[in-house]
Amino acid sequence: MRVAVLQGGRSLERQVSLQTGQRVEESLRRLGHEVHGVDIDHAFVRTLGDLRPDVAFVALHGEDGEDGTVQELLEVLGIPYTGSAPAACERCWDKVVAKRTLAGAGIATPDAVSVSESAFKQLGAADALVLVGERIGFPLVVKPSRQGSALGLRMVQRAEEVPAALVAALSYDDRVLLEHHVDGRDLSVSVLDDETLPVVEVHPRGVDPYAERYTIGETTFTCPADLDAATIAAAEDLALRAFHALGCRGFARVDLLADRVTGELTVLEVDAVPGLTHTSYLPVAAEAAGIGFDALVARLVELALQPASAGA
């Protein structure tokens, strides 16, 4: 089969995408496919038009690749592709939209307020920050609404740190979230073809989430997570519900928090185009389920070629 592995592009997560892309390419070759790595650029549509791949493997992260833009073009070109359809990508990529969608489905997420850059500039939103702080409480987390890999994310301990954190987050997107910080255990539940894979518990070590995510040897995690059966079952159930509520297809990674005190589970975000780098959680979870990386890649391609179910 001729497979185009879409990667790179000009998003801030270009390097991460190239890591995923390279790993996927190697795997597809081992599986005997004709593999073409495609670095997304101005000639993207023409390149794919000339190449006419049987399937496109979306190994993009960040803007364009994760927000549904590329998926929309692939629909127009009539090329089957891995992962979710444009609408689901859009919903997952924008954390504000994702939160609203999840809330609509009765799925708990940490309390948050979203504010746009123009609200500060035109509407004097700054005057509401005290109320926001009172409602959400400190410490709180400030993050861009649309950006992956924890870029622009800051934990804020005191009210006076809020403005600088907002400016930092607004460097990445024109809308930001101020979110309640849940002191909880970080759980990551991957969904593959409507079934959950073993739960990963992440043990963050330092203060630089980006370095931890993408440096081999930096983050420690447990998979399957060392949790009681009821919590595991609840986490898996919640992840599947979130997957469906957002309309995801094929695969996705659902990040959850389990409150250290109450044990309550909340959904932090859903990644519709999860990373498949050597340090990403989804491949680890698959491996724990006895699905090696090549088998995982083969499965994703197979899912992409299944006739699309109704809408997304």
């Binding site: 500039k121 700054a126 622009g152 980006y210 370095a211 993408y214 040897g217 995690f221 491996e287 724990a288």
Partner: protein
Amino acid sequence: MTVEDQDPTPSQGVGDDERRPTAAAAAAERSGAPAADPAAATPPARPVPAFDGHTPVQRPSGDLERYARLFSQRTRVMKTSAMRDLMALTERPEVISLAGGLADTTLFPAEDLAKVLSHMAAGDSARALQYGPTEGLAEIRPCLAEVMAAEGTIVDPDEILVTSGGQQVIDLVCKTLVDPGDVVVTEGPTYPGAVPTFSAYEANVVQIEMDEDGMRIDLLEEALDRLAAEGRRPKFIYTIPTFQNPGGVTMSLERRRRLVQIAHEQQILVLEDNPYGLLRYEGEALPTLLSLDGGRFVIYAGTLSKILSPGIRVGWALAPAPVRQKMVIGKAGSDLNSSSLSQLFVAYYFRERDWRDYVRQQATVYQARRDVMLEALTRHMPDGTTWTRPQGGLFVWLTLPEQIDTTDLLARALQHDVAFVPGRGAFLDGRGGNSMRVNFSGVTEDEIREGVSRIGSVIAEQLELYASIAGTPRPRGGSTRGGSSDPVASPGDTDRSIVPLRTAGRRRGTA
């Protein structure tokens, strides 16, 4: 990333308790067939590190473990960083990158290269294609001594160790002197390209603030006292005294004398890195530390990268004989010898052309570019932003109001197709968040004007946004108006700068 700044990832503080895998564990992993491991489905009883040494072999393991288990302890500090990945985006062709640190090699006449190379090929083809002595070829040494003499430093050509760029000198000095945890003293900010070298050797880096006269020797003495009280002594002090990278400042004569005196009194080695000394656009040349020291405690790193070509990878070192001997052995282990072809090219070039003439020509171009940059900064930078005014070299160092984080700012700047080096890459201790380095040698005057204007706009945008959020008076200046006038500090700006400051041609400082 520029060629010279391979990886500005700051990181240190590796605990001794986190040892690497034992040979046995690594061997077990190698021989295992992880995918087929029957224990794969068994949950471990306790959290286990994903891929470092403690991991029992019975847990499922993917590719990452297969390799990560084999990594050495020192790779732990070789981290992926957001800044490094952002820097990769600065290479997009549409980006005006003031992030480079490059000589402008388009200035070198192509016909000169062709002629000299053809003469070299005709006269010395076999030698150019052959291995050479680790210390370097005999005919290049007088050329390098000649370069040093142009700065008033007289050395014996026989004592020169030819290296693959000045970068290799830093590596060899670390290789020779640094055990894990040893203290190395540097300027703060320091050359971002040296950071991964210090990290790889697991040095404990102590950074000393600078002002417009270079490293603050009073603070150095305090730091040395503090270290002595802890029973520690630095292995060496790393400094770029002339047109410092990234600070752009030059160490005064008085401080040079004092530094050498301290080195003698306390018997501490100093690594003097001098890539830019001959690129002086104004002011009086100062003696090198090596010439003040007489070669007793100063190790000298020279390079042709900034005066002839970075592509030929020719640098050199001078060091006290016992240190040099170890460095030679270390170099043999790294690369046997620096490129014979490059060395012979240099020898032929020095014989057939006036190298000084090419340096003068570059200096003229870079001086004009520096002037354009300083003028553009005055015109486009918002109030509260300060910068150094280099008398030579390639860089200007900017300090922004405290509330701006230049790594985040780079993300925004890239949306406007302009780039710089965030200051954090020049520190190992988390400082530098509100500073940046900009380069003027590798870009045209028009690009400098446009690039600085765009950077000024994004800073002004950020400051305005900050003011609208923090409810403070809006900052003045920025690229929307011509030049800043009053030295009004922006809200939150505590004026804590690391290097000397200039605002709209006015000098301020922390002397």
